[in-house]
């Protein structure tokens, strides 16, 4: 305590942070948790989560690919250290950024999150953050608090129970708890990810990326109720950046992550497009196009969002993106369908014919093959 004050007095606030980091890195994980008494409120929550986990396991929305699942489970295991045997990962096909860990060890990760993280380190940051809540037993504290505020239903919604998809919003997992809990989970998460060999500097980047999407919303940042009640993202980004500065090194594994998620990318991008939240999708896809200029999937997806939004100038933007995707090569067949449909709308039959023909060539098994063929045949000569 004295040493810290001395440092603080002598060297200004950056030294406070250093001292805090030193203190933070002294953090020790607790021993593994025993199953609580059934009659206790924690026990009640545990049993409820067990039932929910069974339902999740049996749900058609569970993503069951063994390789991806094993990989994320392994990551969670390494992050959780001694608690590895208690952590069970469930991947859920839902196009929102969310991960949540229940007090019984169930760790849900939604595909919207898997789509958005740039690399393994960022995924590790989120997993570590959730494991942090679990290790610090925040959920039980929150349960007691919620009960007294009769907000139990909302609390359950945090774990994906009894709530419609999207009710949680884009970033609920990062705001689920109060200021102190979130900061603590951030700290623990950073320590865990660094210990597991990941670059802690990636944690703050998740925030930057999410903010881009939220700011793109028509109503913007100011009206988000989440920001009114919780620590501002700037504070958290700064805190995370400081934490990372104290723990340099570690890997991000961009390329490995890209490879691993490639088989799912088109499905996840289609899910994102279908959300119909055009502004957010455009912000997300623009970021991804900048980050991965050699991947035609992102250019196609952004083109498709422009085409569907069809606001002023959007169709031209769509054409530009579709052409960019085609120029890269390996583009989804729908790229040409998109071009064909726009030119058809604009009564440019030659270009429309070219686009639709190419689509039919590339995707003979497409569900809408017959419809597109009819459009093609009906084009004036």
């Amino acid at each position: 305590m004295n040493r810290r004050r001395f440092l603080a007095a002598g060297a200004g606030c950056s030294a406070c942070l250093v001292a805090e980091l030193a203190a933070a890195q002294d953090w020790q994980a607790p021993a593994r948790f025993a199953r609580p008494e059934l009659a206790s409120d924690e026990g009640g929550l545990w049993a409820l989560m067990d039932r929910e986990e069974t339902r999740l396991r049996r749900s058609p929305f569970a993503l069951r690919d063994p390789q991806l699942h094993t990989h994320v489970q392994d990551m969670a295991c390494r992050l959780a250290g001694e608690h590895c045997p208690d952590v069970r990962v469930h991947l859920v096909r839902t196009p929102y950024f969310n991960a949540s860990m229940a007090p019984n060890g169930m760790l849900q990760v939604w595909t919207g999150l898997l789509l958005r993280v740039d690399n393994e380190a960022q995924l590790a940051a989120v997993l570590g953050h959730e494991i942090g809540h679990y290790l610090a037993r925040h959920s039980v504290e929150r349960l007691r608090d919620a009960k007294s505020r009769s907000a139990f239903g909302q609390f359950l919604g945090l774990f994906g129970i009894a709530g419609a998809v999207g009710q949680l919003g884009l970033i609920a997992s990062m705001f689920a708890y109060g200021r102190e809990h979130e900061s603590e989970a951030d700290r623990i998460g950073a320590i865990l990810m660094r210990k597991a060999g990941y670059d802690a500097g990636e944690a703050a980047k998740i925030w930057e990326n999410l903010l881009l999407e939220i700011k793109a919303r028509p109503e913007g940042l100011s009206n988000s109720p989440l920001f009114a009640r919780h620590p501002a993202p700037d504070d958290r980004m700064e805190a995370l950046a400081s934490l990372a500065a104290g723990m340099p090194g570690g890997v991000a594994n961009d390329a490995a992550w890209r490879e691993r998620t490639k088989p799912f990318l088109r499905d996840w991008l289609n899910d994102e497009i279908k959300r119909g939240q055009h502004e957010e999708s455009l912000a997300l896809l623009t970021r991804m196009m900048l980050r991965s200029p050699s991947m035609p999937e992102y250019a196609y997806a952004r083109g498709e969002v422009y085409r569907l939004r069809a606001g002023d100038g959007d169709l031209d933007s769509a054409i530009a993106d579709f052409k960019a995707a085609a120029a890269i090569g390996g583009e989804p067949a729908e790229t040409h369908r998109g071009l064909g449909m726009i030119y058809r709308l604009r009564k440019q039959p030659a270009e429309a014919r070219s686009g639709l023909q190419r689509y039919l060539e590339l995707a003979p098994q497409a569900p809408d093959f017959a419809m597109m063929k009819t459009y093609l045949e009906e084009l004036p000569q």
Partner: protein, 191 residues
């Protein structure tokens, strides 16, 4: 069938406003301009606030639903309106919509509650003149029941006419799909 709708249905049935009517074999008129012919009766569940489609069923609303749209005008919502300030997106028909856009509109409506939709087939067909049909699968979020579905639609004089049917893919869709396809073949739209 969303829980909210079920709840609302309950309330109106309590008030005596909801009823199930038998739709008999033979010629039936749906709205002012659409007619069809039935072989075998259906059940028409009638309650205020369920529109704009007519809702028919064979096994009960939680199991299967046949939605009949007749003369939906440009700009009209294709589902019951939500409460004011509801977070869920609304879906409205526009006369300029192409078949793929109409399918996207129905897809949006069917997935408002978090359910997931996958288009299996989309092709032109003779439905009330020139129309199209589509097949799809739907996983209902609220209870994880996996459905198969079929739809038919056409736009005539700027108005939408459509049939949508979905039922659990196990047993029920195979059981009733033939009858839905037969109904679709008999659809006539008057000018």
């Amino acid at each position: 069938m969303t829980r909210k709708l079920l709840g609302a249905l309950f309330l109106v049935s309590l008030a005596g406003c909801a009823a199930v009517a038998k739709v008999e074999t033979g010629d039936q008129a749906i709205g002012e301009r659409m007619a069809l012919r039935l072989e075998g009766a259906w059940n028409h569940v009638n309650a205020p606030g369920m529109g704009p489609a007519q809702v028919w069923t064979m096994e009960g609303l939680p199991v299967d639903q046949l939605l009949l749209y007749s003369g939906i005008k440009d700009g009209a919502l294709i589902h019951p309106g939500g409460p004011a300030g509801g977070a869920r997106k609304s879906f409205a028909f526009r006369s300029s919509m192409q078949p793929d856009e109409i399918v996207a509109m129905f897809e949006g409506m069917l997935t408002r509650d978090g359910s997931s939709f996958r288009l299996v087939k989309l092709e032109p067909t003779a439905f009330g003149g020139r129309g199209f049909r589509f097949e799809y699968s739907l996983v209902r979020k609220v209870d994880n029941v996996q459905h198969a579905g079929i739809g038919y639609a056409t736009v005539s004089k700027g108005e939408l006419f459509a049939l949508l049917y979905f039922a659990p893919r196990i047993e029920f869709f195979p059981r009733h799909r033939g009858r839905v396809e037969s109904i679709a073949r008999t659809i006539q739209i008057k000018n």
